[in-house]
């Protein structure tokens, strides 16, 4: 392992990483989401996760009420229902408490079926685990 990779692994040991999968429920703008949290390459369990969402162009006003996520069936998995106001790009905010305190922001494009990563820094949260 070269020095850069070693340093990177040390960082990954401290900084949580997240992946999000959302499926439309059939009700307008309501999605069931599964969040995978990793830390240092391992599932992050026991975290207290709150999921919120902002529209990037009006981050403090056009937001949805945050929802508590519940642990899923797989290690590091958490599940939450997101009730958005409209289709389009949303900045999903994952507030973590418990074994680690952090705030992760993920950008997703929501359509009538589900969500897929959009621009706005997906590099970091989605390509390192």
């Amino acid at each position: 392992m070269d020095k850069a990779a070693l340093l990177l692994s040390l960082v990954l040991a401290q900084t949580p990483q997240a992946d999000l999968r959302c499926v439309a429920t059939g009700e307008d703008f309501v999605y069931d989401c599964s969040i995978m949290l990793m830390r240092g390459g391992r599932p992050l369990e026991g975290a207290d996760v709150t999921v919120g969402a902002d529209m990037p162009s009006m981050p403090m006003a056009h937001s949805v009420r945050p929802a508590k996520a519940i642990p899923g069936t797989k290690p590091g998995e958490y599940r939450a229902r997101l009730d958005l106001e409209m289709l389009g790009e949303w900045a999903i905010k994952l507030r973590l408490d418990g074994p680690v305190r952090d705030l992760l922001v993920l950008h997703y494009e929501f359509d009538s079926k589900g969500a897929k990563p959009s621009m706005g820094g997906q590099k970091m949260e989605h390509k390192k685990h």
Binding site: A4, L7, F29, P56, G120
Partner: protein
């Protein structure tokens, strides 16, 4: 207090800084659609200093405020020669230029083996100072509240001083103010610098509250809202913009039943309000009435 209430109250505090910066220019008769640019300057500068260079947040906030003041001073030098609609358009153009500059800003440094810092349209992640220093959301709300109280206290002090009367005089009739020996241009330049510093302070606090910023956060929507707060709340006192923010966030939060249409409902309410109260709820007449009643 739950996370949701803390988040809403913190947002009210953060919006108040940019609302007060717009108000500062409004009382001197200038309508700026560009305060979001200086909010962004503060957010980026503060984030860079804490996340990339390890500065403590208070010091980074002071530096960001100085940069915000300088930025708005430099923008004001040419634009304050314009009046009314032309000044408003020039500030909007300057703000859009700033947003595009944020999109072009790539200031990446290796921090503990990982590249961090502004990455153009990809945004700027990892502004984690408050998490690294164990500051809880309630504590952060307290910091925002204390800073806002200090700023409001300063506004009240200035508005009751000769300078406050001078500013309102310039706002009502700049030619008359100049005829009695007031250097209108110099006062307005100083005011612009103060407004830039205030917006930048809000930006620093916003960036550290959110941990992530991107150029789109600082587009025209934020500028329109910052003006709307002052115009809704009223131009008679510095508490007007604060009332505007409270009403804005309060109405937006209480109209969630309208889902995506609530912005339309909100816009309609603002339009109706401004027809009947063009200088806002707490306009000069209302403030005078309150003072007479309670003094």
């Amino acid at each position: 207090m739950d996370d949701y209430a803390l988040g809403v109250l913190t947002n009210i505090g953060l919006f108040s800084f940019i609302a007060l910066s717009a108000y500062l220019l409004l009382i001197a008769g200038e309508m700026s659609f560009g305060q979001q640019a200086f909010f962004g300057v503060g957010a980026y500068a503060g984030g860079i200093l804490t996340a990339l260079y390890g500065w403590p947040l208070p010091l980074a906030a002071l530096a960001a405020m100085a940069l915000g003041a300088l930025a708005q001073f430099l923008v004001a030098l040419p634009t304050l020669r314009l009046r009314g609609l032309y000044f408003a358009m020039a500030t909007l153009a300057a703000a859009e230029m700033a947003r595009i500059l944020f999109e072009l800003l790539h200031w990446r440094r290796s921090i503990d083996g990982e590249l961090a810092g502004p990455d153009g349209t990809q945004g700027f992640r990892g502004i984690r100072w408050i998490f690294e220093h164990g500051i809880e959301p309630l504590h952060y709300l307290g910091i925002v509240g204390v800073l806002l109280a200090l700023v409001l206290g300063l506004f009240v002090f200035v508005e009751r001083s000769k300078l406050g009367a001078t500013l309102r005089g310039i706002g009502q009739d700049p030619e008359l103010a100049a005829s009695v020996g007031i250097d209108v241009q110099r006062v307005k330049l100083g005011l612009a610098a103060a407004a830039g510093a205030l917006a930048a302070l809000g930006g620093v606090l916003y960036a550290h509250h959110n941990t992530y910023i991107e150029p789109r956060n600082f587009d025209i929507m934020l500028g329109v809202h910052s003006l709307a707060y002052a115009l809704i709340g009223g131009l008679g006192t510095a508490f007007g913009p604060l009332l505007g923010v409270l009403l804005d966030i309060g109405v937006l939060e209480s109209t969630r039943v309208f889902h995506g249409y609530r912005m339309i409902v909100f816009g309609g309410l603002v339009a109706v309000l401004l027809v009947f109260r063009p200088r806002g709820l707490l306009d000069e007449r209302m403030v005078l009435w309150i003072r007479q009643r309670f003094s």
